[in-house]
Amino acid sequence: MSEILLKATALEKRYGGLKAVSGVSVDVHRDEVHAVIGPNGAGKSTLINLLSGDVAPTSGAMMMGERDITHLSPNLRALAGVGRSYQKTTIFRDSTVFENVRLAAQAHGGSPLRMVGTAERDGNVNARAAAAVEEAGLSHRSGTVAKFMSHGEQRQLEIAMVLATEPRVILLDEPLAGMGHAEAQRMIALIGRLKDGRGVLIVEHDMDAVFALADRLTVMVDGRPIASGSPEHVRNLPAVRAAYLGHDDEIEAGAAA
């Protein structure tokens, strides 16, 4: 069994009376994609926000290897090796692709807040930024201002930024949302490569993508995990079929893909 990079145990997040996430335990393994699926409002984004530290859990614990990260703020989690993308693209829209990624690399360089010397002159940061831009397949767009790119390219940029922070675990919240077919295919290929030496947790509605990518699958409904395991195992569980009653075709279609 492969190494567990990120382990969350019995996570719960309450908003007043609403349990957005309840009793969720997930593992993210090295060299694996762990997909989380579920209907709208199931608590998938909340789960990612808990793992990234954007939202503090009501109870439960999170570990990166041996390190307890439950109470670390988002910036410290990023330094601990957790990188993430957001459901709504979150980039510096007025900066170029390279500057976006350079910032990400800077945050994880030797002196991220150095007060002297021009930011662009750090060769090590520049090299790591260039490598991340390349890995995300955006080298030809390096000098383009982010807001002038297509939606799909902006999402690729967000992944390049995550890569530049040299994460061990990558959390992706609906990376394919709003993409056309060709863009989605490119993104699926990119995500498939991301797991090399890292762990990936992905939330996605697109079943074709989920079944193409997932090594492990968790299904959430109303904040609770109703099933978890290998995609083949989960797909055939009666509870999952019941939760998706009427959408059997989609699960079948995904399985056939």
Partner: protein, 337 residues
């Protein structure tokens, strides 16, 4: 980054510096003093812009640091001679830094309009601390009878009584502050500060300690303001609570907005324009304050970007981590599992 685009060329800077150096030899003493005052106020506006323009934080207590710098000089000037610059300046700046650290640490936990309100409240508190208590002459303020001295080996190297010497000190301070802020905004630190302004959530999830970055900028900006206040108090030989009140804070903000938040020098130009305008109107009209208000309103509406830039800062993107509703997708079946 888009807001850094209006950097003046080296030639222009050299020309302005040449004029500035020649000025005290060609105009009368009154104007030399007036120019010195304007440069210190320009330095004040420039320091505020580090927080407002580059940090995206609209602070309304900036005069407090200016005033504190001045009051520190008043406290440290003995009854029978000038204060030692060696001792009084670093002490004043340390105290201002401490005040900025406390105010910043508390107010930077809030965002947008709440940040404005909290900084305003701090500014008012400090104003009334000096206005209503006897620690520094209450509403009458304090006189500073002697200029600070830079004594080396028994000789004062810096005769601040001389209007011309003072002018060059003010010029050097302004230029020094401009270089410092320029260095800062171009450095990795400055990029982190701007990143936090443009997208706080992303800056955090990249790993930047946003709070610490902002607090550092807030303190640096406060210390530059304190330096300007220290020398302003020295120039006028007088400090009063108005020096740290919200009225001055708001005026500096107007200078920053008028001059433009996108450059280092813009706010200095804004300061010069406003002070110059005041000077001209004062000598020509009885109700000059009313006319000044009208001119400012007109300028803010006419200048491209001025008001709009401020508005975007007052309404920053929501930064809490609440879920964003999923957008309907055109490329998939209606039932999106």
């Amino acid at each position: 980054m888009k807001r850094l685009s209006k950097i003046p060329s080296a030639g222009l800077i050299a020309a302005v510096l040449a004029v500035a150096v020649a000025l005290p030899f060609v105009v009368s003493g009154y104007y030399v003093q007036f120019a010195s005052k304007a440069m210190l106020v320009g330095m004040l506006a420039l320091s505020l812009n580090l927080v407002v323009g580059y940090g995206g934080l609209v602070s309304l207590c900036h005069a407090a640091f200016f005033g504190f710098g001045g009051y520190m000089l008043a406290f440290m000037t003995p009854e029978d001679g000038g204060a030692s610059l060696w001792l009084s300046l670093p002490t004043a700046l340390l105290v201002v830094a401490a005040v900025a650290l406390v105010i910043g640490a508390l107010s930077l936990r809030t965002r947008g309009i709440y940040f404005i309100m909290v900084t305003l409240a701090f500014g008012e508190m400090l104003f009334y601390l000096f206005h209503d208590t006897k620690i520094a002459g209450g509403s009458d303020g304090m006189y500073i009878y002697f200029k600070p001295e830079l004594v080396v080996g028994g000789r004062n190297l810096l005769d601040l009584e001389s209007a011309r010497t003072f002018y060059f000190v003010a010029l050097a301070l302004l230029a020094g502050a401009a270089v410092l802020v320029k260095e800062l905004v171009g450095s990795p630190f400055g990029r982190a500060l701007a990143a936090a302004r443009d997208n706080e959530r992303r800056a955090l999830s990249l790993g930047f300690p946003v709070f610490r970055v902002r607090l550092t900028a807030f303190v640096v900006s406060g210390v530059i303001a304190g330096m300007a206040g220290f020398f302003s108090a020295s120039q006028f030989g007088f400090v009063a609570p108005q020096m740290l009140g919200w009225h001055l804070s708001a005026t500096i903000l107007v200078m920053v907005v008028l001059g433009g938040m996108g450059s280092i020098i813009g706010p200095v130009v804004g300061a010069f324009a406003l002070i110059g305008l005041e000077e001209v109107l004062k000598t020509s009209f009885e109700h000059w304050k009313l006319i000044k208000g009208l001119v400012i309103i007109a300028l803010v509406f006419l200048l491209p970007g001025g008001l709009r830039q401020l508005a975007t800062l007052l309404m920053p993107e929501r930064v809490d981590a609440s879920a964003t509703p999923a957008k309907p997708r055109s490329d998939e079946a209606p039932a999106n599992v």
